[in-house]
């Protein structure tokens, strides 16, 4: 019944244009060329011209090739059969097992009604003090890991995934090196976590347009699990590749670029993905951790900048450590008031002294004489870096807080800390 069109009037970048009637915006089509059949999606209509974004790219497409409209937008199966499976960005199995067509749902669905969200209140323990104590991860949070190439961000992501208490993990890989993809798969497998995972992987060698689909596919699947009451952790890496793919399409479509070539709707596009993180009133939750590599280590670059405004905080990964400055979990105050009475104070005081330590370090490097106070700070800074900042640590929050008090007491007098007297009485380690 579906009409087939044979006249492609324009091929530019990954976008082809055909003349066709009765085509709906966002619908899918199949383009058959010498390279095989590829899906394509309608991205613009103008009079009788239909603009299609071809998932496999336009290389090898002939103007006489066949375009067949499917009459529905992009869909993905949402069923338990997905667990343990690995797909490409377009939803084709990557693991050599059969395709799944149960319970197909549309991707990129509507936004959650804010009235149906609840205030996130559940902490996710990771065993990493830099996260648990200083920037607590909270269920339904969306957090990027700002990093630069070469940092162990995928290792960190995998590690958090291993230790986090969630029901389902959805991994969306964008522009992933093949090695990294294998590492993820093997790590999850070794820890027995693959059976609770779904992976949508676009590797660096795959066509760009498929990269664009990865977040929507991952999040649509995550949403269906969350609606069943599951707590889902979505890991996305690397969102910079996603944004760059968007830029590529926008430029092809001759859109006016806004900042460094990125389209003006970069913020909205990123937001509509990140905002899928949710704690449903009466169902499960979605938590998103997304790696964003910062081009040139520049946080003011449009991708990390727009991301920072959307997400609920950010982790900076530098030198293999989560930076205490700038790293922030905005939701931490929802949970860290209920963990232990001293949690917030330890967190604030230790960071404040660490900032002072950095200043002193600067003075020291300029050759100034160190006062008594400076020496105390130097001692503190070293202890802090050694005992708290190490990402390979795996200790419970309570132990980490006790460790914090111990470090403070090793370096300072109680009065020097500026901590409320009532807390000092309760927690300040007694000297014997």
């Amino acid at each position: 019944m579906r009409k087939v069109y044979h006249k492609i009037i324009q091929i530019a970048g990954n976008v082809i244009t055909v003349e066709a009637d009765g085509v709906a915006n966002n619908d899918l089509a199949e383009v058959t060329s010498v390279r095989g059949t590829s899906l394509a999606q309608v991205i613009r209509l103008l009079d009788n011209k239909v603009f299609l974004q071809v998932f496999n790219g336009t290389r090898g497409i002939n103007t006489g090739d066949e375009v067949r409209f499917l009459g529905h937008p992009m869909r993905v199966s949402a069923s338990d059969a997905l667990l343990g499976r690995i797909f490409t960005g377009a939803g084709v199995p990557r693991d050599g097992r059969p395709e799944i067509h149960d319970n197909m749902i549309e991707i990129g669905g509507p936004s959650v009604n804010p009235a149906k969200r609840i205030i996130p209140r559940k902490m996710i323990r990771t065993g990493i003090p830099m996260i648990d104590v200083f920037n607590t991860l909270v269920e339904s949070q969306k957090l990027p890991i700002f990093s630069i190439a070469g940092e162990p961000y995928n290792e960190l992501l995998a590690r958090i995934a291993m230790q986090a208490e969630v029901d389902v993990i959805v991994l969306g890989g964008m522009g992933l090196k093949y090695d990294d993809y294998l590492t993820f798969r093997n790590t999850l497998d070794e820890h027995g976590a693959l059976s609770r995972s779904v992976m949508f992987v676009h590797t660096a060698a795959d066509p760009t347009v498929e990269c664009l689909l990865v977040p929507d596919m991952s999040l649509a699947v995550a949403e269906s699990f969350a609606l069943e009451g599951k707590r889902v952790l979505v890991l996305l890496t690397d969102m910079t590749n996603f944004a760059d793919a968007m830029k590529e399409i926008a430029i092809t479509m001759e859109q006016v670029p806004s900042n460094r070539g990125y389209p003006g709707d970069l913020y909205s596009q990123l937001a509509s993905r990140y905002e899928k993180a949710v704690d449903f009133d009466g169902a499960g939750s979605i938590t998103i951790l997304a790696v964003t590599t910062m081009p040139g280590d520049d946080v003011t670059h449009p991708i990390p900048d727009n991301t920072g405004y959307i997400t609920e905080g950010q982790f900076y990964l530098r030198g293999g450590r989560i930076e205490p400055f700038g790293s922030l979990s905005r939701l931490k105050q929802n949970v860290n008031g209920k963990t232990r009475a001293d949690h917030r104070t330890v967190m604030d005081t230790m960071i404040r002294f660490y900032a002072d330590y950095k200043e002193t370090l600067e003075k020291q490097s300029m050759g100034f004489q160190m006062s008594n106070w400076d020496n105390k700070l130097l001692k503190y800074g070293k202890l802090f870096e050694k005992n708290m900042m190490d990402l390979s640590l795996n200790i419970q929050l309570e132990d980490a807080l006790d460790l914090g008090w111990k470090i403070l007491a090793d370096c300072f007098d109680a009065a020097e800390t500026g901590i409320k007297t009532s807390l000092l009485e309760q927690f300040w380690p007694k000297k014997d």
């Binding site: 613009r44 009788n48 937008p73 509507p110 804010p114 709707d265 922030l328 006062s371 009065a415 007297t421």
Partner: protein, 579 residues
């Protein structure tokens, strides 16, 4: 009414739809795109020949060429009447709680509901009498709405003078019942109900005159009220990079500001932030009225993943509702978070329209739109010549890269009365609120004596200079006097500028407390202390700081408060130099 115009879709590009029409369309007219049994709302934003460009407030997925579009002949309007308070709306004034009841977890495309409960009944008391001559905005009657008397006014869009023919007697009336019948000079007769409609993009100007805002709006935030005050009817902006605490600051202001009504426009920001308000305000008590905070709030929320075009409308919806309560003779505080997202929505549309881009691809008319928005703030004298009402606007700005030189921040700075610049430097050092004490400014009046304020500022500035100097010459190269000045500036920062939002007592500091504590702080700043060496000085200020911070956590005027004050006084005396 003329037969409604129809048109046909000729192009779809994101949320921009091009429509071919036959006769006439109006700029900013609302139109509905029909898709199956759904109708998607849109607004005409450009007309070229027989084609109009519409921004659609919904996803355009599934639209086809030649789909039908129906024009309404009306500009985008909001419903104004009793029952707005406590409501949570999206950018187009759809009540979100009702939407959730009808559509479940997700927002449903094309589902539009009445903004006000059209079945609600209010206890009407007439004010106007038959024969009275009224102009738009004059009072016809009143109904009680929560803690306020809500006046039913002659609709703002009634031009000229109208004579009251009849008024409904006192008693319960449905919101849609006719409460008055009026006749114009030309003999045109109209019914007036409790609900009226007003196009959001036009300011409501049914008042006698605009007055100069002089009274300080107490926000209970020490840095603001003392150092960078905001006036009732004034404007302020809080630009800051991400993570600097813009939203936390705005929430504090919305909770503790001494104002009658708060309208919150969550425009293109995280849904999570709105959820906190939605869930907490109905349970938090407003100490001024004994009711909940929700009873004085209207929330407009068009979060970042909701359709972009509606984001643009949301700030106008919010300010129109704020103006409506101003017409009631109330002081209204409008908080918009964030105006940058609104500007970005404009940029997205401008890009789709293929307009020639201005700086950073923002449209060239950005500045005039921002100015027009902030100019809707003000203190006004209403038509009766004795009642005043005000709209105070506070907009947060999210500058790209935290750089204040960008177009939205610059355009905003030109038109606001107070600039509360949040700094990354301070937020990194966990010094909250992170309002920069030297870069920020305000044109309004502080609650503390100007002389003391100038002294405090000078201490901060000098302290910073000494700090800079110490970085070069080291602590040993700094003389003790300078060093003490530096310690004093740090003291002022820690005990006064910094305020703990998460502590029940410290979160709000009323003007009495601020004046009292500030006087004590000034006493310390002016005191002539005597120290043997720098370590002793540092030690003294650390201890004094601690006693002050403890003081900040104690309820003002309590016995404990007085006791702590004695501790502080004794501490100060201990080091004061004998003159």
């Amino acid at each position: 009414m003329p037969e409604n115009q129809t048109g046909r879709i000729k192009g779809v590009n994101g949320n921009l739809v091009t429509v071919e029409f036959d006769t006439a369309v109006m700029q900013n007219e609302v139109a509905y795109v029909e898709i199956g049994d759904q109708k998607l709302k849109g607004e005409v934003i450009r007309v070229r020949g027989n084609r109009a460009d519409l921004q659609i407030y919904e996803s355009t997925a599934g639209l086809k060429i030649d789909d039908t579009v129906k024009f309404t002949g009306e500009m985008l309007s909001v419903a104004l009447g009793p029952g707005l308070l406590t409501k949570v709306y999206d950018g187009l004034q759809n009540p979100l709680n009702l939407l959730a009841e009808k559509a479940g977890f997700f927002l449903k495309r094309g589902l539009y509901l009445d903004a006000l409960d059209m079945e609600s009944v209010w206890d009407f008391t007439p004010i106007a009498k038959p024969g009275d001559k009224l102009v738009a905005g004059d009072r016809i009657g009143s109904v009680p709405e929560g803690i306020f008397t809500h006046y039913i006014m002659l609709p703002f869009r009634f031009a000229g003078s109208w004579e009251v023919v009849s008024v409904a007697p006192a008693g319960p009336r449905k919101i849609t019942d006719t409460v008055a019948h009026v006749r114009s000079a030309d003999g045109e007769e109209r019914d007036v109900t409790m609900v009226q409609y007003w196009p959001v993009k036009l300011p409501i100007s049914c008042y006698k005159e605009k007055l100069l805002p002089t009274k300080t709006l107490i926000t209970q935030q020490r840095t603001i009220d003392t150092f960078f005050p905001v006036a009732t009817g004034g404007t302020f902006c809080t630009p800051g990079p991400f993570g600097a605490g813009k939203t936390v600051l705005q929430h504090s202001i919305s909770r503790y500001a001494e104002t009658d009504v708060v309208v919150i426009a969550a425009c293109g920001e995280r849904a999570g932030e709105v959820v906190e308000i939605l869930r907490e305000y109905p349970t938090l008590e407003d100490p001024r009225t004994g009711k909940t905070l929700m009873d004085r709030s209207v929330i407009i929320c068009n979060t970042s993943s909701m359709p972009v075009a509606a984001r643009e409308a949301s700030v106008y919806t919010a300010v129109t509702i704020a103006e409506y309560y101003r017409q009631q003779g109330l002081n209204v505080l409008l908080l918009a978070d964030s105006t940058s997202r609104w500007a970005q929505a404009l940029r997205e549309m401008s890009g789709r329209l293929e307009e020639i881009p201005g700086e950073e691809a923002f449209p060239a008319y950005l500045e005039s739109l921002i100015a027009g928005f902030y100019e809707r703030a003000g203190l006004v004298l209403l038509n009766d010549g004795k009642t005043t009402g005000s709209v105070t606007i506070g907009g947060s700005v999210s500058p790209a890269g935290g750089n204040f030189e960008e177009p939205v921040t610059q355009a905003t700075l030109k038109v606001v009365g107070a600039f509360l610049g949040l700094s990354r430097e301070r937020s990194d050092a966990r010094r909250f609120p992170s309002i920069h004490p030297l870069d920020s400014w305000s044109h309004y009046h502080s609650i503390v004596p100007a002389e003391d304020l100038a002294f405090a500022r000078a201490t901060l500035r000098r302290g910073q200079e000494v700090n800079q100097m110490m970085k070069v010459v080291g602590e040993e190269g700094t003389n003790t006097d300078d060093f003490v000045t530096y310690l004093k500036s740090e003291f002022l920062d820690f005990v006064y500028l910094q305020q703990n939002t998460f502590d029940a007592v410290d979160a709000a500091s009323d003007d009495k407390r601020q004046k009292y504590v500030f006087a004590k702080v000034i006493g310390v700043l002016k005191a002539n202390f005597k120290f043997d060496d720098k370590d002793q000085a540092r030690r003294f200020f650390q201890e004094l700081q601690l006693t002050f911070i403890d003081w900040n956590y104690i309820v003002f005027g309590s016995d404990k408060f007085k006791h702590q004050e004695e501790v502080i006084d004794a501490k100060i005396k201990e080091r004061i130099a004998n003159a």
